[in-house]
Symmetry: C2
């Protein structure tokens, strides 16, 4: 069966290999790239290059930033006694969207995962420990994902932190707000029962 | 609320403006672009450039092709007496996937749409008419989309073709195979009734 033109097929294949893009979307995108003006394509490619070249890790919290120190770490309005430790910069965004948390963050950029050859020294743990040397930080909230690896990473880090006299806490487990109990998995229900509170 | 790094935000905005990519996918893609190797990014950008530079319209059928004449128009195994007229190169792929149609194609690259300032001379109609000058083609199948504009374009072209003594047909309307009648719209059901056949 003759397909599309080979160089169009190559572009479709490249697009389909990106995360969250299926074959149909890849086709639509490829046709879109074909119909874009030269300026639009140039500005698209520049956006990729700029992000890759300008974005670095904040030297304090390791979150992505265009500056050496990110806006959150620079802010005078944040509560500097609490650090929320997350796996990924997107998790910072998720917490910021709540407009409730006013402390600082630390981005690990991954979780410890011997299966995938990710060891403690491969993620930003030492940068976190070095932030705890003064008296400023009194609590570290472990907000890694509630997965086996996220859990193990939280445990590993909490063992490093506790000797420093800093309180370590973990996000509460339970049923998500607005969820239907019927569809909750058994582990979540067990944790929700264990964590029940008087009302 | 401090967001991502500005150059990362710019990339996310660019990605989110592409068709079929929402905000969440744009974030995932932007992070993916950040984590790609330089070689991967270069080859991605080259794929866009190659598709844009190498792909042209087949001088016969106007389908996208890396060569002057596309593989289908060049093929000795196709039935050269029938031309299936479609709006878009993706429609050619849809018919090819059926493995049933062995004739040729003609890609209009759009439909006549006065509302969007698309006139008959803006789509590949004259290229189609010029293919009908010999005796080779005996039937033209109008396979534009079953929309108001697709319909009007099919009518317009059929009026141009009929004086040339070439048979013009239109795809059958009816209920899609495997669909649930309950969810079929009334226009489709009316057409399906009108087009009913003895069994």
């Amino acid at each position: 069966m003759p397909g599309f033109a080979p160089s169009l097929e190559t572009l479709i294949d490249k697009l389909a290999s990106l995360p969250s893009i299926g074959r149909k979307s890849a086709q639509r995108l490829a046709f879109h790239f074909m119909s874009m003006s030269d300026d639009e394509v140039t500005s698209f490619k520049e956006a990729i290059d700029n992000a890759r070249n300008n974005v670095k890790k904040c030297i304090v919290c390791c979150n992505f930033s265009d500056d050496d120190v990110c806006p959150i770490c620079r802010s005078k309005e944040r509560n500097r006694s609490t650090i929320c430790v997350v796996e990924d910069p997107r998790d910072v965004m998720a917490f910021e969207r709540t407009h409730e948390y006013s402390g600082l963050y630390h981005v690990l950029h991954g979780v410890i995962s011997p299966m995938n050859d990710v060891n403690p020294e491969d993620i930003c743990i030492k940068e976190l420990i070095s932030r705890l040397s003064g008296d400023e930080v009194t609590e570290v909230i472990m907000a890694t994902n509630p997965t086996v690896e996220g859990e193990a990473t939280a445990m590993y880090i909490s063992k490093l932190i506790k000797p420093l006299g800093v309180k370590v806490s973990r996000l509460a487990y339970g049923v998500p707000v607005g969820a239907d109990l019927e569809y909750a998995d058994e582990f979540t229900l067990i944790r929700a029962m264990e964590g029940r509170k008087d009302i």
